[in-house]
Symmetry: C2
Subunit: 343 residues, 2 copies
Amino acid sequence: MNVRISIDDIAKIAGVSRGTVSRAFNERSDINAKTREKVLRISKKLNYFPNPSARGLAKGRSECIGIVVPDLKNPFLPEMVSSIGKSAEKYGMSSLLSITDNNIMMQEKILVKMSSGQVDGLLITPCESPESIAMLNTMNSKLPIISLKHFERLQCSSVMFDDMLGAKLIIEHLAELGHKKIAFLSPTSPEWSIKQRLVACNDALQSFNIGYRKHYKLQNSGSSHNLWEEIKELVFSGAEKNPPTAIFAYDDIIALHALKAAESCGLKVPDDISIAGFDNISFSEMAGVPLTTVAVNSERLGETAIDLLMRILKSANRHEEIHHIMLKPELIVRKSTSSPVIK
Amino acid sequence: MNVRISIDDIAKIAGVSRGTVSRAFNERSDINAKTREKVLRISKKLNYFPNPSARGLAKGRSECIGIVVPDLKNPFLPEMVSSIGKSAEKYGMSSLLSITDNNIMMQEKILVKMSSGQVDGLLITPCESPESIAMLNTMNSKLPIISLKHFERLQCSSVMFDDMLGAKLIIEHLAELGHKKIAFLSPTSPEWSIKQRLVACNDALQSFNIGYRKHYKLQNSGSSHNLWEEIKELVFSGAEKNPPTAIFAYDDIIALHALKAAESCGLKVPDDISIAGFDNISFSEMAGVPLTTVAVNSERLGETAIDLLMRILKSANRHEEIHHIMLKPELIVRKSTSSPVIK
DNA sequence: GCATCTCGTCCGCTCGGGTTC
DNA sequence: GGAACCCGAGCGGACGAGATG
């Protein structure tokens, strides 16, 4: 019943030695095409596949890549994970997924385990703490690591979307529509990408000679259920004396909440206020008012990251290579932005 | 630089034998607490963790569970995957994720590899084909498999939400609101769960003496971008002579598209038409009109599935055990349903 | 000499019998 | 006679030197 079939069984049935079966599965040249075919045919019939643990031990690599993310709440992340997984599969690599919940201890535990030979390389959306960055810098000499965000002082390769360019595209779009009062709406947390987008915002506003600078900071984290109520309070309450005519939200989730907040106050989007997001998650297209946003092709992100990782893994002097790849985002104009209505 | 530290290094530094280091990492009793602590302290300092491949080979198990899903598009799936991953982590198990894209060949390839010792157990949302089911039935004798859906003739354990009860709750809710014309809106595919919900629908309608039976079948698959346009055509076009006053959508995604379709035709939800979904994905709460739906707690699903898998793995006669666990869903009434307005 | 195959060693660890105090 | 530890075999496969034709 539970007999696990091994390389010896296949060898015996095929009438060859263990080594030959091994060669059949390892794309080595010193094996007759007919023999290989025969071995593979028999293996397939018996659902045999070389034991990955034994293989990993003998080869010194696991043929497995690690994916470490804080959560899968923002739809952008599952899209990315899915694309990473499928790209890895193309190289014959399996994917080990771990969720850190943004907990540094958890991340550390996972990284130690993964770097002990469980995976050959690592794609990570890291926690943003000095300890976390220090640890990644250390690990990177043992294990190729690709960060899916970038931070100051992070010394490993990264693949990410160009935050600054994305923000610039949005601000330019809004400014060109004639908006003079554009606010940025983001979580409070000191995330690198928030900082980047804010800087790009201000730069762009300056280049349009717009002096209005408002940065609304949300207390609740990104996926909180009543985020829109907080936004309502923060942005659309009567307390705001000089309200913006356009809002650039840090991401689509926040933009969608802003949309709901505006509508719940009787405001029409985009007539009364324009709203733009970032990420182009699938729901942004089918919101009540389809969202203007910046598209970051998560498919391409995953593919690029895996391609880079595989290139690094094949490279002899992998430790000297650090690549930073910035993917260009694209402006997607939908219905949630328009010229401000003069009243 | 790239020196991989091994059990022997730790043993040497700690002044003990390899076996003792091993015992420290394996919760075995025959080791002095002080010795264990010392070994673990040294290991931690050097970021040492026993090589999982070597461990897997020696132990005959990988301490890894496999998660196989068609995709991560419907937000329900990432939620489930995330919860599975975190629950597995609690047992010290890593999670190997694979995306099949609903491709049977891909699923087969993945299953063969995983069952070759890559994972100790498997959670899967399987492709619905006879070959797929046959393969799972075969594999189940080699590897504990838990299906996250149930089908006829599937002979392995399953953990899932009670489709029929969920559908019943929705129909009862709508009927009690006074609806007499309730339509079911689902994809065309012959999925088991669609069939289940349809049957439960009809049963419930019958028990309320409602003769109106309309089943709208969508051609596009669940996550298509212009699904709402298809719904508009199918349900809200003038062609429909006897339109329903309430729609029960197969899942929240479809319900949200239906919402958009209705609104794009100038219909008010719920005044002109009630709409209900299934799954309670996070967006259903913050849609323009918050969605009445059936909540299936994905956290609990993941946890239950892993608990069951671990129980099976520990059980001596695992091959004789087949468990089917049905989780009870819960009705969530929001704003998208109300009594029909008499005109 | 070349294509193809066999054989023995080793990968890093776990496990349990044997040993020590 | 335990508690705590050492030691050697073996897990399944990769690999390369040597054998065979």
